[in-house]
């Protein structure tokens, strides 16, 4: 799955790092580092983080549609 965080919005409250520690981690006091392509297995964890983020900064691709193969060379 794919994730991007709008780090202009993010205020470093770390709810995501608490709820999905395999994907989001704090780097220093308030900078956020995250895995932009976590394993599909973490989808539920990430969904909880998305819901908990107080500023709705986390964007995830939609579950029901994988990018169609052949659309782009990287579509795996």
């Amino acid at each position: 799955m794919r994730v991007v965080v709008d780090l202009n919005r993010c205020q470093g409250y770390a709810q995501c790092a608490f709820l999905a520690p395999d994907v989001f981690e704090m780097h220093g006091e308030e900078a956020l580092l995250y895995k932009p392509r976590p394993d599909e297995a973490f989808r539920e964890e990430v969904a909880r983080a998305v819901a908990a983020c107080p500023v709705q900064a986390i964007l995830v691709d939609r579950l029901d549609e994988a990018v169609t193969a052949g659309e782009a060379s990287d579509a795996r």
Partner: protein
């Protein structure tokens, strides 16, 4: 022909071409589809990859937390686009409404969106730039190549230019315990974007983390060994450094060459557009079928005296792309202006640095919360007695408040008491920006005057 009839047909079976398939191009395409565009959508991109995110390339990727091929951007909606990836646009015929592609094909459009962004400014001496071990960092391929060499455990990395990208690269090297020298011709890192007072804090941060920081110097030449690998760099103060990797971080050049001779108002400073993202032609007349967004655009901003602003900012690309896409499908009365307040983030040496507004327009700086010495503060920039920008070091949660002050042109210095105000926040000091006519290391905000045409300007690239 009633305009709404035309728009209806455009939405139903028109042809929209997006040139530049990155952040702005993708977000615009998604907006076109969610706003009901059902016609043919062509996405032209010269990179062979689907749209990916660049900020991780100088952060998580170099730290090994993720890989360059894992940065593809999430899709919010199905695009059903005709993707022409790995194919550059090479020309534009405005009269025939056609984009020429590198493979010789031509694509016709009813509406065109240009989001060709910028590219890294290479080391100016071609022979030296071609030495093995000399890198720039803008693309996925750049990041792959650089990361591979960092993993090999270089003896020393030399970063030329201490803007945001250069500083982030240096930070990643130190975190990997790689010896690193940073050469910056300004007085401190980040001076172009944040001024000398805040730059001094960035300099302390670098030195504390073991960076060999050399300021006020230029790299005058790179030297290779007999096998063509870089082995030394000579500096203007007569000293030299012996790196086996050199990263050139001297800012960016706008990707507008493909528009040369097209009649569009495109040049080294970008493509001028109005507040509604419509491109100007070289006569200064606004077009009605060509739109621009993202790093390649320069657009007038009401909060900053309607000067044209070029912003190399992630958030600007997103916001301007959404506005452009919306306006592409609208009658004039329903169009929206792009009024985004500039905002930027960077993380380096464990500190989260964020800014809003245009700090580089500021002449005065007030530390309104926290303290420079603790590297935890809010700095407010003033210009002609109003608040024009703000920066935070590990104080991001206060930023929306300052954004509001900028939006409402609040007076500077701010008259209210603030949480955690220290003695140093009692009065403002000069913000210490270098002379803007001397580009240092590619500032990420460029003010480019009032003229939509780009003909009269002479461009002085950041010579080092």
């Amino acid at each position: 022909m009633p305009a709404d009839g035309y728009l209806e047909r455009l939405k139903r079976d028109g042809r929209i071409v997006v040139v530049g398939a990155s952040l702005a191009g993708l977000r615009a395409a998604e907006t076109l589809r969610t706003e009901g565009f059902a016609g043919t959508l062509t996405m032209v991109g010269d990179e062979p990859y689907e749209p990916y995110d660049r900020p991780p390339l100088s952060k998580g990727v170099l730290l090994g937390r993720t890989t360059p091929d894992h940065t593809a951007l999430p899709r919010r909606t199905a695009l059903e686009a005709d993707w022409r990836l790995g194919t550059a646009a090479t020309g534009l015929d405005m009269a025939a409404k056609r984009v020429r592609l590198a493979d010789g094909e031509e694509v016709e459009y009813d509406r065109l969106l240009i989001t060709t962004g910028v590219r890294a400014r290479p080391w100016p001496h071609e022979g030296e730039a071609g030495l093995d071990g000399v890198f720039v960092l803008r693309t996925r391929d750049d990041a792959t190549a650089l990361h591979k060499r960092l993993v090999d455990g270089p003896r020393r990395v030399l970063v030329i230019g201490a803007g945001f990208t250069g500083s982030e690269i240096a930070s990643a090297c130190r975190e990997r315990d790689i010896p690193v020298t940073v050469a910056e011709r300004g007085a401190a890192p980040l001076v172009g974007a944040l001024g000398g007072v805040v730059g001094a804090v960035a300099a302390e941060l670098q030195r504390e983390h073991g960076v060999d920081l050399r300021t006020g110097v230029m790299v005058t030449g790179l030297e290779g060994d007999s096998a063509g690998r870089v082995r030394a760099a000579h500096l203007s103060d007569g000293s030299s450094v012996e790196p086996d990797i050199v990263v050139v971080a001297l800012g960016a050049t706008r990707n507008t060459e493909w528009l040369a001779g097209s009649g569009l108002g495109a040049g080294p400073r970008g493509i001028a557009c109005d507040a509604g993202c419509r491109a100007f032609d070289i006569r200064g007349i606004v077009t009605d079928d060509i739109f621009v967004a993202g790093d390649v655009a320069r657009s007038p901003h009401p909060l900053f005296g309607y000067q044209f602003l070029s912003l190399e900012h992630w958030g600007n690309a997103v916001s301007q792309a959404e506005t452009a896409a919306h306006n592409m499908l609208c009658a004039s009365v329903d169009r929206r202006p792009h009024m985004w307040v500039p905002a930027f983030w960077s993380s380096q040496f464990g500190v989260n640095i964020k800014s809003v507004g245009v700090p580089s327009m500021g002449t005065e700086l007030l530390i309104s919360q926290g303290s420079l010495a603790e590297r935890r503060f809010v700095g407010v920039y003033g210009y002609q007695d109003r608040v024009i920008g703000a920066v935070t070091f590990d104080q991001a949660r206060w930023l929306p408040f300052y954004e509001h002050l900028i939006e409402t042109t609040a007076p500077f210095p701010p008259s209210f008491p603030t949480v955690d105000r220290r003695p140093e926040g009692a009065r403002s000091v000069p913000a210490e920006f270098p002379d803007p006519s001397v580009p240092t290391h590619g500032p990420t905000v460029t003010l480019s005057g009032y003229s939509p045409a780009d003909r009269r300007m002479t461009f002085t690239p950041g010579r080092h």
